[in-house]
Structures are given as structure tokens and as C-alpha cells.
């Protein structure tokens, strides 16, 4: 018998989800392909236009060379083949392969979003749990007001205000960028330098999510505290901390994980705004620039990569969910 929650079941789950993942990516790629074909003009015209000599002969040659004279089905197949091998095309604006452009920017974005996400989750759930345990107290009221304020604050405005206070007025933090350029730094100094640059963008990005997780955790803790098994735990003579840590937290985290997983993708979207405000050299900025310049290959490449990131995050959420709650593996809950 395969026990629910065991490594074997979760492993099987992972396999089945990876198969689904590949299928979803192919569907998205197909969708992208149709979008490109729906746009007026074709790559041959763009290329011919760029080279400055758009005579029909050159167009035909280009079409033949790139397989554009073949039926759509054949073109789609070869496009999907390229997607599978991560060949996302070429940016004529930047004169570089789209894959290179994206891979160059991805680490900065991941650093920003993953840090913000982890901090929001950690601090949010901790504050929420404390508020929930002390529901009705002064502490609870302070946390509630604070999280409502954070929740209601527009991300870009918070970013701008932080710059105004900490960079312009106080001069404590660098106002923009990823690291200080044109300076020789030891590896440790470089890490600290990047961390210093990260403080404000991470804070702005994390604020709203922190507020959401805190609110959610608070109500979840209050709900769990009223469950019968908490009464059982008290009747067992367990101490307050062992009831909270041993019985309440894990149960209270289940709804938070669900929401956090769904929002992790949106976090990348939020990064576009923040990266623009703080001139952060990540995917967000690349997207913004590509939009302004109508750099379709770059945009499509980013969309594809972001879809993959979102799908992978959902997969991770599902797996974490199943590790937390054994009932999920059998659909018994």
C-alpha cells in the first residue's frame, strides 16, 4: 500500500504534474505562435526592412530560408521544436538571441522576487499568528491597522516614498540600480552592496503580500483555535506553546499556502513596476522596454518564460500542500 503523504506518493504526483507541465507549455507556445502570425507582416518583411532593401526576390529568399513558405502546421511544428530546445528567436532591436537576453536578466528578478516572497511569507505569517493568538488585544489592533495600511498602499507610491525618505532626504540607501558600478569590491563587500540596493525594492514589493499573508494567517489561527482538536490538546494537559507549535500552526498554514502559491506568479508581475521605479536590471525592465519598442520576439520569449515560472510555482505549491496535508493525496478531505 502506498501511504498518503509518503515520499513515494509525492514522487508519483510530481511525475504526473511534470507531464502536465510540458503539455501546458506546448499549449502556451502554440498560443504565442498564433499571436505572432496574427500580427500584421511577417519576420521576413521585418528583416528585409531592416536591411534596407525590400525587393520581392529578397523577401522570397528570406521566406524560403526561414521556412515561412511552408504550411502553417509545418511551421508550428518546427516552432514548437525550437521552443523545446529553448530557441526563442532573435531580437533585432538588441541584436542578440532572446534566450541570452532573458537569462541575463532572470537572476536579478528572481533575487528580488524570491527574497520579497520569502520575507513576506515569513514575517506575514508570524505577525498574523501573533495577532490571531492575541485576538482582540492592543497588539492585534496595531497589527490589523498596520496591515490594512500596507495593503491599501500602491506599490509604486511606496517605492517612490521610500526613495524620497531614505535616499534623497536621509541619504542612507542607494536610490536605484542593482549594485554600485565602477568600484572595485571584494566578494563580501559586493554581496553587502547588492543587499543594500535590494532593501527598498524588496520592501516595496513585499509590503502588500506581507499584509495579505498576515490577515490570512490571523483569521486562519482564530479559526483553528476553535476546532475540537485544540480542546483535546488542552484536555491532554499540553502547554500553550506546544499547542500552538504542535497543533495550530500547521493546520493554520494550509489556507496560507494555497493563496501564497496562487500569488507567487503575480509577484513577478508586480516586479515590472518596482524594477522600473528602482531601475532594477531584471526581466521587469526588459519587458517594459520591449513593450515600448514593440520588440515582439523578446516579449513572446518573456511571456513563455514567465508562464513556465508560474506553472513551476503552482507545481511546487501543490507538492508543499500535499506534504502539509496528508488528506490531499487521496482526495479524502
Amino acid at each position: 500500500m502506498i501511504r498518503p503523504g509518503s515520499a513515494a506518493t509525492v514522487g508519483l504526483m510530481a511525475l504526473s504534474r511534470i507531464a502536465q507541465l510540458v503539455a501546458v507549455i506546448l499549449v502556451i507556445a502554440t498560443f504565442n505562435f498564433v499571436l505572432v502570425r496574427a500580427a500584421p507582416g511577417d519576420p521576413a518583411q521585418v528583416m528585409a526592412g531592416q536591411s534596407g532593401a525590400s525587393d520581392p526576390k529578397l523577401l522570397d529568399d528570406l521566406r524560403k530560408e526561414y521556412g515561412l513558405d511552408k504550411p502553417y502546421a509545418v511551421q508550428l511544428a518546427s516552432y514548437l521544436g525550437r521552443v523545446i530546445t529553448l530557441d526563442l528567436g532573435y531580437s533585432y532591436r538588441q541584436r542578440r538571441a532572446v534566450v541570452d537576453l532573458i537569462l541575463e536578466r532572470l537572476p536579478a528578478t528572481l533575487l528580488l522576487t524570491v527574497t520579497a516572497f520569502c520575507l513576506a511569507l515569513l514575517i506575514g505569517t508570524t505577525l498574523g499568528a501573533l495577532a490571531g493568538l492575541a485576538a482582540g488585544s492592543v497588539l492585534d489592533t496595531v497589527f490589523t491597522v498596520l496591515s490594512l495600511v500596507l495593503y491599501a498602499t500602491p506599490v509604486f507610491w511606496l517605492g517612490l516614498m521610500l526613495v524620497l525618505v531614505f535616499s534623497v532626504t536621509l541619504g542612507w540607501l542607494p536610490p536605484f540600480g542593482y549594485e554600485t558600478i565602477n568600484v572595485k569590491l571584494s566578494p563580501l563587500e559586493r554581496v553587502l552592496d547588492i543587499a543594500q540596493h535590494m532593501i527598498m525594492p524588496v520592501t516595496s514589493l513585499a509590503a502588500i503580500y506581507l499584509a495579505i499573508y498576515a490577515r490570512l494567517m490571523r483569521s486562519s489561527i482564530i479559526e483553528v483555535a476553535q476546532q475540537d482538536f485544540i480542546k483535546t490538546a488542552r484536555a491532554k494537559g499540553l502547554s500553550g506553546p506546544s499547542i500552538v507549535l504542535g497543533h495550530m500552526l500547521r493546520n493554520a498554514l494550509v489556507p496560507v499556502v494555497t493563496v501564497a502559491g496562487m500569488q507567487a506568479g503575480a509577484l513577478v508581475g508586480g516586479a515590472v513596476v518596482i524594477e522600473t521605479v528602482f531601475a532594477w536590471p531584471g526581466l521587469g525592465r526588459l519587458t517594459f522596454d520591449a513593450l515600448l519598442q514593440r520588440d515582439y520576439p523578446v516579449l513572446l520569449g518573456i511571456f513563455l518564460i514567465l508562464s513556465i515560472v508560474v506553472i513551476v510555482l503552482n507545481l511546487l505549491t501543490d507538492l508543499i500542500y500535499k506534504l502539509i496535508d496528508p488528506r490531499m493525496t487521496t482526495g479524502a478531505a
Binding site: D228, T232, A235, G237, L238, A333
Partner: protein
């Protein structure tokens, strides 16, 4: 009970205990001036209807009352200590140490995300000093599982609560309670959520453990059958006050107070051998032929779906004006059967003939017209009425949907409300203003507004207190006569079936194991399963025999797994 034992110091005593309710409630005290003792090796039952304060007392013993509710005067003494006067550490030692508690709903009383073995280990580790080694704890858990009759302890300790049956879960709860050899076990309606056969096993287990360990047991129940089976002494509560107390014999056989008498009389069909005999009219109204239904629950990838057979070739006939009881334990498919007849659940195969038509073939308007003649009343009167719809509307909407004018439908609704024993002004109120029994009356009025020919009552009185239950059953019996209704009465309570039905069908795992006139099924059951069910009805010894047989020691010692 011998004299030496009588002389022992009680493990629990309540002296003039009063528990105050927050201001603005319907009464100032949840419990008022309650005094009683539980001696070692004694089972004391607190019995009363909902709101009698019996659970409050149980919670006060371990100081588990909600923050807004406190002991106002008097005291509880548990193992020579007063829980309200203890510091945190001493209180923790008392809880689960000297006194342990089990609850009504074992599934929600166990942490769903923790293996049951771990939950018991925790009980041992938090109490025993010096802290035992992991191996010792593990061995103790295995021992406990064996003692409470759980099969395969090795596999079981790794299970999560949702993987166990209701009976197994309650056994886990009992194993946990027994972990530190408490002097007192408090059991708050420990079998109310369980099937009748499982209930018997759990009650036996508690009784055996009590005997083995000389433990005092405070058992809270609303069921006089349970009282008759297990109690040494009984405390009858009403509105937080003790109505009377004494030995089982005194209280059940010779009640001094009218209220106790009423409660005992309200037990449906106390004498099971004395059931209605009625000649059945031959005209059949509803015919179910070879009904099949299998539910498939999807499981993980690569695992076959779990199949639950709810109906495995069920055939039955309901005659004009007849009441047919469908009885069975949870999971027997009795509710699914009711829902399939209503076409609320689609069967996989078979036919449902009503009035010459096959209900399964009907579509659209024809189905709508047929449905009007079949109405259903559900178990939970709190969940089956729209909380934001006035009662009058809830009743009138049905006829209005079939073309009756609003004024006329409201007029009918008011008449029906009066007929089911409520006031005309009830029409303008919302469901939350009514008690459970009143709501069930409203649900009945709602079902009858369409003048159905068949009424399906799905555990319609199971959620009600015994005295209210008796009233609603009487109302249904009257209405059945008046409106010439045929009824399908789905219930897990065999006493209720005996009380109201002309014929009985016994279901098990989607199959009919026995079918016959009520008198035959109850006096001469053919199937072994029916006999098991009948034997498991609590309080049979007491209620069935004219001469009183003391309940103490009557329960045969047997440890069965569920």
C-alpha cells in the same frame, strides 16, 4: 457494588456548582447548584436535553470552559484538587493525568495533520516524569492500541485520523485518555456520532476499562438507552438544575419527577416487541426496480479510483398511504436511495416508477410536474432553510413556482404553519428565530405545501432532542393520516422505525438484507445483520423487559474491533 468501594473517596465531586453565563443570555446560570459524586469504579451518567448544562459541567471539571463563562459559586473537586484554584502547571498535570476526557465527534477531536500514534505519544511525554525514552513511549502506545482493541497497532500508529473508521477514531481517543492511567474518565456524548453497533462496542470498551482499572467514569448522554445499559447512578438535568439523581434502578424504574417520566416516555417505541400491525393496501404508488449506484472517488495518479457502492440492485415498492422505514448504518446507502428517488442523485441503472411513469425517463416539464408529488425533509433543520428568506416565503415559493398566486400561496403557507403547530406570525420571521424542532416543523410545512403524494424524511428527527423528536413524530403520523401521504422514512434509529413504520427495509452496503412488516422484522428478524442491529440498540434490557434487570454487569465483556 460492595461496601468497601462505597466508602472510597469520590474521584469527582461537584458541590453546589453554579456556572455563570455572560450577561444578556436567556438565563443567568448555565448550571445552578449542582451536586453529585463519582466514586472509583463507578459510572455516573449526566443525562438531559440540549441546553441542560451537562456539557458545561464536564468542561468545568477540567477547567476547559470558554473565557466568557466561569464557575460562579460552589466547587468541583477532582482527585482532591479544585481545578479553578490550580496554577497552570498543576492544571496541566490534572488534565490528561488524573482526569482525561473524550468527546462526541472523534474525527474533529483529533488533529487531522498528525499521525494518531504521535498524538498519543504526546500525551505520554507531556505527563510522565522522568521523561520516558522513545522506545518506552513507543511500546506504551502499542500496548494502549491493543488494550482498546485496535487491530494491527504497527500500521495504525502511522495512520492519520481520516484513514480510520469512526469507531477506530473513538478507540484512539480512548487509548489517548487511558495513556496516563487516569482516576477519572469524562466522556462527553462519546457514542452519539457513531453507528449503533459501534456504539455498543465503544460502551463495552469503556465499561471494561473502568472495571480493569477501578476508574470513575462521568458519562454525558442524552440517550436513556445508553443510561440503562452502562450507568450505576444517574443525574437528570434540566435547564442547568438537577431534577433528580439516584441509582439507575431508582431513576429509570421509579422516577420521582414528572420531567424524568416524560423523558423516559419520549423514547420512541421503548418496547420493541409492541409495534404497529397494519394491513397494507395493495395499490402500489412508487416502485423502484434494480437501482444501482456506485460513487467513484478519484485518488492519486496511477491509483484506481476508490469505489463506494451505494446501491447494488435495490428494489422496493411503496404503497398508497404506507410508511416505509429504510434503516441502516452510515454508508449503507439509505440517504442516496432517498436522493435517487427524488432524482437529486442520478442512478447508474434501474428504474423508478411513479404513478405509471418511469421517473428516470422524464425530462423538462414532465419531470417538474412529477417532482411536485415527491417531497423531502432533510436531517439538519439549520442547514436546510435559507437563512435570509422569511419562513412564509420559504413555504410559499414552491406553490408559486407551479402557478399559484403569491397571495394565495401565502395564505396556504400560514394555514400550514398553524397546522404544524406554529403561529401565523411565524411567516414573517427568519429561520434563526426558531428552535431546531420548530425549524423541522417549518421544513415539513414547506414540503407539504406542494401537496405531495410521497414524503421522504431523511433522518428528519435525528438532530432533535428526544421530547421534541416525539412531538415531531406524532405530527408526521397525524399528517400522514390527514393528507393520505405515503412516506419513506430514512433513519439509523431502529426505535424510530419501529415507532412510525408499517414496513421496514434494512440496508447494508447498498443491498437490502431484510424487508418485511415492522412487527415481523422486529420480533422475528431473519438476517443475522438485522439481529446484530437490534441487539445493539441501547437499553433493550431495560425497556423490553417488564421486570427490571440491573444494568451493572449486564454487558458481556467483549473487545471487538470496528
Amino acid at each position: 457494588m460492595n461496601e468497601a468501594m462505597q466508602a472510597k473517596v469520590p474521584v469527582l465531586s461537584a458541590e453546589n456548582l453554579s456556572i455563570a453565563l455572560p450577561e444578556g443570555g436567556d438565563r443567568p446560570f448555565a448550571v445552578e447548584n449542582v451536586s453529585f459524586d463519582v466514586k472509583p469504579n463507578e459510572v455516573v451518567c449526566l443525562v438531559g436535553e440540549s441546553g441542560s448544562g451537562k456539557s458545561m459541567i464536564a468542561h468545568a471539571v477540567l477547567s476547559l470552559l470558554p473565557k466568557s463563562i466561569a464557575v460562579a459559586s460552589g466547587a468541583v473537586t477532582v482527585a482532591r484538587q479544585n481545578p479553578t484554584k490550580l496554577d497552570r502547571r498543576a492544571l496541566r498535570r490534572l488534565r490528561g493525568g488524573e482526569a482525561a476526557m473524550i468527546f462526541q465527534e472523534p474525527l474533529s477531536s483529533l488533529n487531522p495533520l498528525k499521525r494518531v500514534g504521535k498524538q498519543i505519544e504526546e500525551m505520554i511525554l507531556s505527563h510522565q516524569r522522568p521523561t520516558p525514552s522513545a522506545a518506552e513511549v513507543h511500546e506504551r502506545v502499542q500496548q494502549l492500541f491493543t488494550q482498546v482493541g485496535l487491530p494491527n497497532p504497527k500500521l495504525l500508529e502511522k495512520s492519520y485520523p481520516f484513514e480510520l473508521s469512526g469507531g477506530q477514531r473513538q478507540r484512539v481517543m480512548i487509548a489517548m485518555a487511558m495513556a496516563n492511567r487516569p482516576a477519572l474518565l469524562i466522556a462527553d456524548e462519546p457514542t452519539t456520532a457513531l453507528d449503533v453497533t459501534t456504539q455498543r462496542q465503544i460502551l463495552r470498551l469503556i465499561d471494561d476499562l473502568r472495571r480493569d482499572r477501578g476508574m470513575g467514569v462521568l458519562l454525558i448522554t442524552h440517550d436513556f438507552g445508553v443510561v440503562a445499559d452502562v450507568a450505576d447512578r444517574v443525574v437528570v438535568l434540566r435547564h442547568g438544575k438537577v431534577v433528580e439523581q439516584g441509582t439507575v434502578e431508582e431513576v429509570l424504574r421509579h422516577p420521582k419527577e414528572a420531567y424524568t417520566r416524560e423523558l423516559i416516555d419520549a423514547v420512541p417505541k421503548a418496547r420493541l416487541d409492541d409495534v404497529r400491525h397494519k394491513t397494507i393496501r395493495p395499490e402500489s404508488l412508487l416502485e423502484v426496480v434494480g437501482l444501482h449506484k456506485t460513487f467513484r472517488v478519484k485518488r492519486g495518479w496511477l491509483q484506481p479510483p476508490r469505489e463506494v457502492v451505494a446501491a447494488d440492485g435495490i428494489s422496493l415498492t411503496l404503497h398508497e398511504g404506507e410508511t416505509l422505514a429504510v434503516v441502516g448504518e452510515s454508508g449503507s446507502g439509505k440517504s442516496t436511495l432517498g436522493r435517487m428517488i427524488m432524482r437529486l442523485t442520478e442512478p447508474d441503472g434501474g428504474a423508478i416508477r411513479f404513478n405509471g411513469q418511469d421517473l428516470r425517463q422524464l425530462r423538462g416539464e414532465a419531470l417538474r410536474q412529477a417532482r411536485k408529488q415527491l417531497q423531502i425533509v432533510f436531517q439538519d433543520p439549520f442547514a436546510s432553510l435559507d437563512p435570509r428568506q422569511k419562513v412564509g416565503d420559504a413555504i410559499a415559493r414552491g406553490p408559486m413556482a407551479y402557478g399559484t398566486s403569491r397571495a394565495e400561496a401565502m395564505e396556504q403557507a400560514k394555514k400550514l404553519l398553524v397546522r404544524v403547530g406554529l403561529n401565523v406570525v411565524a411567516a414573517d420571521r427568519y429561520p434563526h428565530e426558531f428552535s431546531g424542532g420548530q425549524r423541522q416543523r417549518i421544513c415539513i410545512a414547506r414540503a407539504l405545501a406542494l401537496k405531495p403524494r410521497v414524503l421522504i424524511a431523511d433522518e428528519a428527527v435525528s438532530a432533535l432532542d428526544v421530547s421534541v423528536q416525539a412531538q415531531v413524530l406524532a405530527l408526521l403520523a397525524e399528517l400522514r393520516q390527514e393528507m393520505k401521504l405515503a412516506m419513506i422514512f430514512i433513519t439509523h434509529d431502529l426505535r424510530i422505525a419501529a415507532e412510525i413504520a408499517d414496513r421496514v427495509i434494512v440496508l447494508r452496503k447498498g443491498r437490502i438484507v431484510e424487508e418485511g412488516a415492522t412487527a415481523d422484522v422486529f420480533t422475528a428478524p431473519q438476517a443475522a445483520y438485522t439481529r446484530d442491529l437490534l441487539d445493539a440498540i441501547p437499553g433493550r434490557d431495560f425497556f423490553d423487559q417488564p421486570g427490571f434487570a440491573s444494568a451493572a454487569g449486564k454487558i458481556p465483556t467483549a473487545r471487538m474491533s470496528s
